[in-house]
């Protein structure tokens, strides 16, 4: 099948998934015990005022109507208006998307740059000190709550050594140095689990590839070990590594929510936690849809990238 055909087919298959995401996002808080309207109306509001607000927000309509209305407007790029702050949800998301994307990208890049070589080297010298060290680091990385890791870095690198700011986000437009300087600790915090994951996957898939015939052939031909390992073997081990990057996005976003709180990054994770606490339905729905779509899109890209790393897959 042609590449364009694959692209089209995969893209179309994503639509029902997005529909389900929207439905879940919409239904999630409809069974909630707290009433956002009562909260919004304040302590002294009378029932008439509450009813007026309910009508203004369209919350008095049947659920199905509310859902269809919301879906229809969403298709036109309108995610509704925040109940609490009165601002458009798209604007709120646009304000908050920067820090989340920034810390996600730095984490992925950093984790791949660190995790893949660790995994490869661990596989290459299987059972050696690096292998064992990597194994135990990854096992520990999985076992400590993210916020505790964050506190550790703050305590060590900010409060003791004074190297990095303890909190805050500076947009890239204020300068690359400042931007990265503020993102260092969040990235270190988030990437520990991710490095562990990538290193483990890289190690196992490398182990498998290293025992295959073509690697033996390459070695037999007298190619330098460096080239055997990093060029021949790694390329063939890349598919599971790339796929774990895709799967890991969900894990990453989970970590981002906590990390944003520890380092006070005004991102989407914090927005969604705050909105849940304030029962701000439109914002929660909007952010969940955005996260869901991002996840779907990234996995689509990962799927498509397989054909780059492994031509056999695209011929299926």
């Amino acid at each position: 099948m042609a590449v364009a055909g694959v692209l089209l087919k995969r893209s179309v298959s994503v639509i029902p998934v997005l529909g389900v995401v929207a439905l879940i996002a919409f239904m999630l808080l409809r069974f909630a015990s707290g009433d956002p309207v009562a909260q919004l109306a304040g302590d002294n509001a009378d029932p008439a005022a509450i009813a007026a607000i309910r009508a203004r927000l369209g919350l008095d309509q049947p659920l199905a109507m509310q859902f269809l209305n919301w879906l229809w407007r969403m298709l036109h790029g309108d995610l509704g208006t925040s109940i609490v702050s009165g601002q458009p949800v798209t604007a709120l998301i646009a304000q908050r998307v920067g820090p989340t994307v920034a810390v996600s990208i730095t984490t992925i890049v950093f984790s791949v740059v660190v995790g893949v070589p660790i995994g490869v080297l661990a596989a290459w010298r299987r059972g050696g000190w690096l292998d064992r060290f990597a194994m135990w680091t990854s096992v520990t990385g999985f076992a400590v709550p993210t916020f505790a890791i964050g506190y550790f870095w703050i305590y060590l690198l900010s409060m003791q050594f004074g190297l990095f700011p303890v909190q805050g986000y500076v947009p890239l437009s204020d300068g690359l140095g400042l931007f990265l300087w503020h993102l260092t600790l969040p990235t270190l915090t988030l990437s520990l689990v991710y490095i562990a994951l990538i290193a483990r996957v890289a190690r196992t898939s490398m182990l498998e590839v290293l025992s295959e015939d073509f690697v033996r052939t390459a070695r037999a031909k007298g190619l330098p070990e460096r080239i055997v390992v990093f060029k021949h073997a790694l390329r063939n081990a890349a598919v599971p590594i790339v796929s774990i990057v895709g799967i890991g996005i969900a894990l990453l976003i989970g970590g981002v929510v906590v990390t944003e709180s520890v380092f006070n990054l005004p991102g989407l994770g914090r927005l969604v936690v705050d909105s849940v606490l304030a029962r701000d339905y439109p914002v929660i729905q909007g952010v969940i849809v955005v996260f869901g779509s991002a996840y779907v899109a990234i996995n689509l890209l990962v799927d498509l990238s397989y054909s780059f790393f492994d031509p056999r897959i695209s011929q299926q």
């Binding site: 690198l157 709180s261 006070n264 914090r270 927005l271």
Partner: protein, 530 residues
């Protein structure tokens, strides 16, 4: 863990080299003087007339102005008003605005703005609504003069216009004041000393104010919420930080200048920090309150409500909330310990378990479940709830603690249903003493019951008639006597249980000078050196 100094300094040197490459300078180049402040909560809802949260009021104090203000000695002083006179029959108040007052959009402040602002506000505020029941007419006389005409004399007109607690009578332009009071204003135009920078507002994360160069200040020095409001900085950024530890570290690291409410257990490390001052600018402090729901079992019975009080020990609550006795004081005073109406009548703040058990029996308690709503956001809310739950179990009550974040709690406590249908029985609440110091403004003493009252919905005609008496009384000594009677009655019927008073010192950078002592964090008059 990190005591290996030689290795540590080695590491430090290495890492410093690494970080230096990407670190331009610690201090960010900023034009002008900026104060970065972390408040007890972020600004989300912005209409100070709709939202009872202090955040709404504090936001309002920056960008709006009021006709009158309360100074640090509880005296009422004109603010936007230049001169005023009261007719001999005490029925007509004539106010004249100061000249040169301008809204942020450049329009002058006129009587036509003031009147709709007051009307909109009075629909939401209990003290305002009460005053309006006495008001026959609010009418403009000329551009800067207007009259408030009463049907019968009312002693609290100026107190109401100067009320320092939540839902203050802020003056907005007529076009914004024309909005129905259920609908929040979305344009932030006032005549206050700061302008709101709408383009930089990130609800829940950051609100930015800049100096209003056109503000015409009074000549008197700042005094409480009253007096001159001269802004000596260029910008003030209200930043949210969900984590207290992060905020305290940020202050020590000089990333922020002001931290409104560091938990008391963190104060020692902040006091020890080199460039941080820990000081109290709100001498009235805060009070905690236990509120029970009069509408549902078991607290629909007076004896059972009283049993809760006699099972309680204020010192235990305060230890759980604050911990350090330097910052708290047990007291029965419902109107604040140091306020003009302070009185210790009604309770000795100590437990009397035998009496509690006896009252429980008298009230015919049969094990009905009491649902306690526990807010988890702050140690001020969560600790004392756990204490109460245990004390009540100890006297044989059936208590179910339901933990939730503050937002959920707010949504939950307005429910009047029975506990079986999602209602509630009791909850702890913390508020500023300012909110409680006046029996008319104090929402916990609103005893109009289910229809107009505050959550908990106590109903008592005697307290209501005493409050009316207080409202009409003009003599301070007589007012105090009435207030004492209200307190005594409130303890009898148990509108609420006062949980004691505590101070919440502010932590700020040593570079900040001349912070105003007032029941709200204020950023006029403050200077930032270096």
């Amino acid at each position: 863990m990190f005591n290996d100094f030689s290795r540590r300094s080695l590491l430090k040197a290495g890492a410093a080299g690494l970080a230096a490459g990407m670190m331009p300078r610690i201090a960010r180049a900023q034009s002008g003087k900026v104060i970065r402040a972390v408040m007890h909560a972020p600004l989300r809802a912005t209409d100070p007339v709709i939202n009872t949260a202090w955040t709404g009021r504090n936001h309002g104090l920056n960008i709006y102005d009021t006709l009158f203000s309360t100074d640090s000695k509880f005296q009422i002083r004109p603010q936007m008003v230049d001169t005023y006179e009261v007719s001999a029959d005490k029925l007509t108040y004539t106010f004249k605005l100061r000249s040169g007052l301008k809204f942020h959009d450049g329009a002058p402040v006129t009587s036509a703005d003031v009147i709709p602002s007051l009307q909109r506000w009075a629909k939401r505020d209990t003290m305002g609504a009460r005053m309006m029941t006495f008001v026959a007419e609010l009418k403009p006389v000329d551009e800067r003069t207007f009259q408030l005409v009463l049907k019968s004399p009312y002693g609290q007109v100026l107190q109401t216009l100067a009320k320092p607690s939540s839902i203050m009578p802020f003056i907005m332009p007529a076009r914004l004041a024309a909005q129905p009071p259920e609908q929040p204003v979305t344009e932030f135009v006032g005549s206050g000393p700061f302008r709101f920078v709408t383009s930089e507002f990130r609800p829940g994360s950051r609100a930015v104010y800049e100096r209003n160069a056109d503000y015409v200040s009074r000549d008197e020095p700042s005094d409480g919420l009253a007096g001159g409001k001269i802004v000596k900085i260029d910008r003030y950024e209200w930043i949210s930080m969900p984590d207290f530890q992060t905020a305290a570290n940020a202050l020590i690291n000089k990333e922020i200048d002001f931290l409104e409410a560091a938990p008391h257990d963190m104060l020692p490390s902040l006091i020890a920090a080199k460039d941080v001052t820990v000081a109290d600018y709100n001498p009235l402090g805060f009070m905690s309150v236990v509120r029970m729901n009069w509408l549902s079992e078991p607290f629909n019975k007076q004896e059972i409500r009283q049993a809760v009080m006699y099972a309680s020990d204020q010192a235990d609550w305060l230890d759980a909330q604050v911990g350090n006795p330097d910052y708290y004081q047990a007291s029965a005073a419902m109107f604040g310990v140091t306020t003009p109406l302070a009185s210790e009548v009604g309770w000795n703040t100590k437990p009397d378990i035998a009496r509690a058990k006896d009252l429980l029996k008298k009230g015919g308690y049969k094990g009905e479940k009491a649902v306690m709503l526990q807010g988890t956001d702050s140690p001020l809310l969560s600790g004392s709830s756990t204490v109460t739950a245990q004390k009540l179990r100890a006297i044989g009550m059936n208590v179910e603690v339901q933990t939730m974040d503050w937002g959920s709690l707010l949504a939950r406590r307005v429910k009047q249903d029975s506990t079986a249908n999602g209602g509630w029985s009791m909850t702890h609440w913390v508020t500023t003493t300012t909110e409680l110091m006046n029996p008319l403004a104090s929402t916990v003493l609103d005893t109009r019951g289910k229809t107009g009252g505050f959550f908990g919905w106590p109903e008592d005609t005697e307290i209501e008639s005493l409050r009316n008496k207080f409202a009409l009384e003009t003599d301070a000594a007589a007012q105090k006597t009435v207030a004492e009677a209200i307190q005594k009655r409130a303890y009898d019927v148990m509108t609420h249980i006062p949980g004691g008073q505590f101070k919440q010192p502010v932590s700020h950078s040593k570079a900040l000078k001349n912070i105003v002592t007032a029941p709200a964090p204020l950023f006029w008059n403050v200077e930032k050196t270096a």
